[in-house]
């Protein structure tokens, strides 16, 4: 497990699964000023039953740095009381979690917006690449980036 130190945020890149309730509890522990918490979990789809696993390659060091930069932007832009981003790498089976973003604030709007922003920016800036491994035993193609993801990030 690798982490990066951004004051006010928890950022981790890890091979192992994460525990959403435990991560949420970590954000709210010992405080009563949070009025809303948004937790987004991105999962591995089975792509209509054809996918055996997704392989996630990442750039160690830069992945933490880049998510940290996105987190700093979110912290500067919204009045957040907690922010967590966890991204897995390695082989991930359909149904498993890939990514978690938690944003907490006094009011819901900031939490919703910050979580949405984090995901849009993380998808287009964090150095991760997906490759499909198919149920028939073959290794599929590297997943191509989507123009709609760039468009989503450009909204902010």
């Amino acid at each position: 497990m690798q982490g990066r130190s951004v004051p006010g945020a928890t950022i981790r890149i890890q091979r192992d699964p994460f525990d959403v309730p435990a991560e949420t509890a970590r954000v709210t522990a010992g405080r009563a000023d949070i009025g809303g918490i948004v937790a987004f979990t991105g999962l591995c789809r089975d792509e209509g039953g054809r996918l055996r696993a997704l392989e996630l390659e990442h750039y160690p060091g830069m992945a933490e740095d880049e998510i940290g930069r996105v987190a700093q932007t979110a912290l500067a832009r919204w009045p957040l009381l907690g922010l967590t981003a966890i991204h897995r790498f390695g082989m991930i089976a359909p149904g498993e979690d890939i990514v978690l973003v938690i944003a907490a604030s006094a009011h819901r709007r900031a939490a919703f917006e910050a979580a949405d922003f984090m995901m849009d920016y993380l998808k287009t800036r964090a150095p991760f690449w997906k490759r499909e491994h198919l149920i028939d035993g073959t290794t599929g193609a590297w997943v191509e980036s989507k123009a709609e993801d760039d468009a989503a990030a450009a909204r902010w």
């Binding site: 996630l56 880049e66 990514v99 993380l122 998808k123 287009t124 690449w129 590297w142 980036s145 993801d149």
Partner: protein
């Protein structure tokens, strides 16, 4: 000496995850480096054929193709990101 690192299909096409190399003095920008990579033989010519889509990071920070290399120690080449 500069460490060049490769990810995803760029890594597969180059055939290695990284290499340490002396860059020519004439190569001072990301664009010039991408052009130079193409001249390093068939494998590199293929890997960098579509250089316009390849992203570059200087010392683990995203850099545009017009950026100066400066004194970057580690230069990474990779396709557009597909995480999340």
């Amino acid at each position: 000496m500069t460490k060049l690192v490769y990810f995803a299909w760029v890594r597969e096409r180059v055939g290695k995850p990284d290499e340490t190399i002396d860059l020519p003095d004439s190569v001072t920008t990301v664009a010039a480096l991408l052009d130079w990579q193409k001249t390093r033989g068939e494998v590199y010519a293929h890997a960098f054929e579509h250089a316009s889509v390849i992203r570059v990071a200087l010392d683990k920070t995203h850099a545009g193709h017009d950026a100066a290399l400066g004194d970057a120690r580690e230069i990474a080449f990779f396709p557009p990101m597909t995480g999340g």
